[in-house]
């Protein structure tokens, strides 16, 4: 197990690389999801505002 983590002395370089890989790709996927939810929320907000305006003029 220790050998696996040590990677023949290159552990810090190898594991840092894999960490960057996972963190960046995970953040990118989360950002993509957040963007989609934000757009949908904006559409809902617009629907609500339009409905409120219709109510106010009634």
């Amino acid at each position: 197990m220790h050998d696996f983590i040590d990677m023949g002395g290159y552990g810090s370089y190898v594991w840092a690389s894999y960490a960057v890989f996972f963190i960046v790709l995970a953040l990118e996927a989360l950002a993509a999801r957040a963007q989609r939810l934000r757009q949908l929320a904006q559409v809902r907000g617009r629907i609500k505002r339009t409905a409120a305006r219709v109510d106010a003029t009634r």
């Binding site: 190898v14 690389s17 757009q39 949908l40 559409v43």
Partner: protein, 250 residues
């Protein structure tokens, strides 16, 4: 219209494509993740130690697939940009703009992992050789496309302007790919080749190719997610988007 054109128009219509993307996206992510984990096991545990670089070479299993994805994403973006500019297809505009941030993420990982590999093997984090410089330029091209797209108010005009920039930047793709042949670089030449025999042993090749497949799937997962967002934004006033937004809240 013949059957094929009709089919093409149907697929390309925002509500239809959104429906397909909604089904396909989680599969792309899930299969990509599973294949990626198998490839990681193969690369970190099963594959033997390199006789020259020891265990440091294991960075290859993410560095090379990410580098391929950086180029693939750019080609995918440029192809869609071309269709968007010539035929003004809405979906192509959205697809092109959706692939830019994903490609930028892969290019960024390529540069960082390359740097982390360069330090123990070359003795330096960075050098201005042709491969590294052209790869950095690729990242800046992505930033340019993303920046231009966000600098213009009208979404469709913005997409067309950014698409034009993306097309101009295509000239950098062969430069990145052939830089190791055209110039005398510190960066090594191609290890895996489509034409001719690869210079890598099968025990190391399979995790590499499997990871390449996994990153492709992950790329399409994210592109589909961003495309869904883009289609919702473009068609915000349309009936299908209103229904979708209200259904999503429930």
């Amino acid at each position: 219209m013949n059957a094929l054109t009709l089919w093409f128009h149907k697929i390309g219509s925002p509500p239809t494509f959104h429906r397909i993307a909604t089904v396909a996206q989680p599969w792309c992510y899930a299969v990509g993740l599973v294949l990626g984990l198998v490839a990681l096991y193969g690369g970190l545990v099963v594959a033997p130690r390199d006789y020259q670089q020891g265990d440091a070479y294991r960075i290859i299993f993410i560095h090379v697939p990410c580098a391929w994805m950086g180029l693939f994403a750019y080609a995918f973006m440029a192809a869609n940009a071309f269709v968007a500019l010539v035929w003004r297809i809405k979906l192509s505009e959205v697809l092109a703009m959706a692939s830019a941030p994903v490609g930028a993420a892969f290019t960024f990982v390529t540069l960082v992992t390359g740097s982390l590999w360069g330090k123990p093997m070359w003795g330096t984090w960075w050098t201005w050789d042709a491969r590294l410089t052209s790869e950095l330029f690729l990242l800046f091209l992505y930033f340019g496309v993303i920046g231009l797209y966000h600098a213009i108010e009208d979404r469709r005009q913005a997409a067309r302007a950014a698409s034009f920039l993306a097309l101009v930047g295509v000239v950098n793709l062969p430069i990145v790919h052939f830089s190791v042949n055209w110039w005398n670089t510190l960066h090594q030449g191609s290890t895996v080749r489509l034409l001719g025999p690869s210079k890598i042993d099968a025990s190391m090749a399979w995790p590499l190719l499997l990871m390449a497949l996994a990153t492709h799937l992950w790329f399409f997962g994210s592109v589909l997610a961003r495309t869904r967002a883009g289609l919702v934004e473009l068609d915000a006033g349309k009936d299908w988007v209103r229904k979708l937004a209200l259904a999503d809240a429930a």
